[in-house]
């Protein structure tokens, strides 16, 4: 029996572990190793160069610019996306007109809203990016022609072509495609909050804003924190949107982000070693970010 057990365990683990080891673990380990070399990726010859790649990173203006954009996204994206998600979810679950037997209820049609808001989440990011690439088109795109229709045609921003606007356009697309997920996520969390809490608050004369800040948000805090980490990791990516929508780093590198910079260094500039150093920098930023969120977000756990 014992013998059979270990053979069974080994038999069930060996294939998944092998695939995982070859395609996930080993590339990660190699990436860190290559970041200390001058490997081009084109030839098999390379030398250890110690911290040279990291030194170059430090002096690389474009790296700092890309990092700056990522940090801006890291600040704006979760704030806007989670904010909208919380607001909509509250409306859909608590914000409705009170009915006879329930202390709280969502607005009418909340089930329908939840389905529709989720649409962008199931679409490929490639589809979303292409769609908005056309929508932002300054001449025939949906957005400028909408401005025409409501009489603001004189504005006609050159959305993606304007260095001051391009990054905001990218941000908007990322918000657009993610809000629905958080509406559903927060709705699930809110529906788990006991109704008596709301009843008690209402008896004490609390209005909706107070209920939100005193009851819903504190009890939902864990979920919000998880969402914050998810959204932050999303903000550190942005590769597909930038590559597809902008066809490159944007006018004057205005939408350059770390992931896209890494991609061009590795696959068009033949600087694989330097690219992996960029990847390590990205990894460090990710981990610092997750650490900060976990630390700042730690609150006394509310049991209910």
């Amino acid at each position: 029996m014992q013998h059979g057990k270990y053979r069974f365990i080994a038999g069930f683990l060996v294939v998944p572990l092998a695939i995982y080891g070859v395609f996930v673990v080993s590339p990660f380990v190699q990436a860190i190793y290559y970041s200390f070399t001058n490997w081009t990726g084109l030839s098999s010859k390379f030398k250890m160069t110690g911290l040279k790649n990291y030194q170059r990173l430090w002096d690389d203006e474009l790296f700092w610019k890309a990092l700056g954009h990522n940090l801006l996204l890291l600040l704006v994206l979760p704030l806007v996306t989670l904010g909208l998600g919380l607001f909509f979810a509250f409306m859909l679950n608590v914000g409705g007109r009170r009915r006879k037997n329930a202390a709280v209820a969502g607005v009418r049609g909340s089930g329908f809203y939840k389905i529709v808001y989720f649409f962008p989440q199931v679409l490929s990011i490639a589809i979303v990016a292409l769609l908005f690439k056309f929508a932002y088109n300054p001449n025939s795109g949906a957005i400028n022609s909408f401005l025409d229709a409501i009489g603001l045609g004189s504005l006609h921003p050159d959305w993606l072509g304007d260095p001051d606007l391009a990054l905001w356009c990218v941000t908007a697309v990322m918000v657009w495609s993610n809000v629905g997920f958080y509406v559903v996520l927060f709705s699930a969390g809110m529906s788990a909050i006991p109704k008596d809490f709301y009843e008690a608050a209402l008896l004490d004369g609390a209005n909706r804003v107070q209920t939100f800040f005193r009851i819903t948000l504190p009890l939902l805090w864990d979920t919000v924190q998880t969402g914050w980490v998810y959204m932050g990791i999303m903000a550190l990516d942005g590769f597909a949107v930038v590559q597809i929508m902008m066809d490159g780093p944007g006018p004057d590198y205005s939408t350059e982000v770390l992931t896209y910079y890494l991609y061009t260094k590795a696959f068009t500039d033949g600087q694989a070693g330097y690219a992996t150093a960029l990847g390590v920098a990205l990894l460090i930023v990710t981990m610092v970010f997750a650490g900060i969120v976990m630390k700042l977000g730690r609150r006394e756990r509310l049991e209910y």
Binding site: F88, S140, R208, D237
Partner: protein
């Protein structure tokens, strides 16, 4: 887009609509905030429009002539033109991209579910040296940015002659789906009662047979949740094929093929065909989502909350 403008009126905007005197009479409060309801419905409708209008715009444009797309982007097509659809489907190779995506996703979804369930089952229900280590090795993969591994991965694939092949992509998709799948299913297998499995073992079934005939059927709800999650992720994957599957134009997957199509349109200029391609790529997932929306939503949120 007015997205940036909205957060400012998010948390505090409802406040003016609920003046203090409301509170005094508002305990029973059937009528609390008639204004507030108008406001909240307004905001909800606006976001609903912001989500659906771009999609409708794409559908509408697919039925127009190129001239109409440029001259009147928001008006309905004068006479619906189906030509763009057949151009996109056959001449622009959308049918091939579609088939490629089906092949790769079918293979990788099956592999992910089978291998993920096997590993998770062993990790959840057997005590052996290294159990924790293997578990954290898998789960740790969830927190690293894929792009960091991409450069070495490209050369690993190249050395194994797996670049630009379907089976190579399938293996990579499986590998990168395993962390979450193992994590989710390990938790799920732990919650299943042990008595049934023990009874099967006492009756003389082997461990393997117990797994396939008893435990796997019992784990169906969990398998469905994580299966939907993986399906959406793999069907919509863009980064991995964009780097690892660039050999042959006909071998592109759907999202990739669509982007290539858009890039080539700059010279050909078949805009309605492009919109038709976009809609062809959108429709199946949207349709599947509308049919299975309950499972999709609960599957994705369960994944995030665990």
């Amino acid at each position: 887009m007015t997205v940036q403008a909205e957060p400012s009126d998010r948390p505090d905007a409802p406040a003016p609509a609920a003046p203090p005197e409301k509170r005094a009479r508002g305990v029973g409060g059937e009528r609390e905030g008639g204004v507030l309801n108008v406001f909240s419905h307004g905001v909800l409708v606006i976001w609903g429009l912001m989500v659906t209008l771009p999609l409708l715009w794409a559908v509408m444009s697919a039925f127009k002539t190129d001239k109409e797309i440029f001259s009147s982007p928001w008006s309905l097509p004068k006479s619906p033109d189906f030509g763009a659809w057949s151009r996109a489907w056959s001449q622009a190779h959308m049918s091939e991209y579609f088939l490629n995506s089906i092949v790769v996703v079918a293979g990788s979804l099956f592999g992910t579910m089978l291998l993920g369930a096997m590993a998770a089952y062993v990790l959840a229900r057997f005590d052996f040296p290294g159990n924790r280590f293997v578990y954290y090795l898998f789960v740790g993969g969830m927190s690293f940015p894929v792009i960091l591994a991409l450069v070495p991965l490209f050369f690993v694939m190249k050395n194994m002659a797996l670049l630009n092949t379907y089976h190579g992509l399938i293996l990579v998709y499986i590998a990168y789906s395993l962390p979450f799948t193992v994590f989710f299913l390990t938790g799920f297998f732990r919650t299943l009662p042990t008595s049934v499995a023990e009874a099967a073992l006492i009756d003389g079934a082997s461990h393997t047979r117990t797994f396939f005939q008893v435990m796997l059927p019992m784990a169906k709800p969990g398998l469905i949740s994580v299966g939907i999650f993986n399906f959406l992720g793999q069907w919509n994957q863009y980064l991995l094929p964009a780097v690892l599957n660039v050999g042959d134009d006909d071998k592109k997957l759907l999202p990739q093929g669509l982007v290539a199509l858009a890039a080539s349109q700059r010279y050909k200029g078949d805009w309605s065909g492009l919109f038709a391609g976009l809609v062809i790529a959108m429709l199946p997932v949207l349709a599947a989502y509308i049919v299975f929306q309950r499972q999709v939503q609960s599957g994705l949120t369960a994944g995030a909350l665990k």
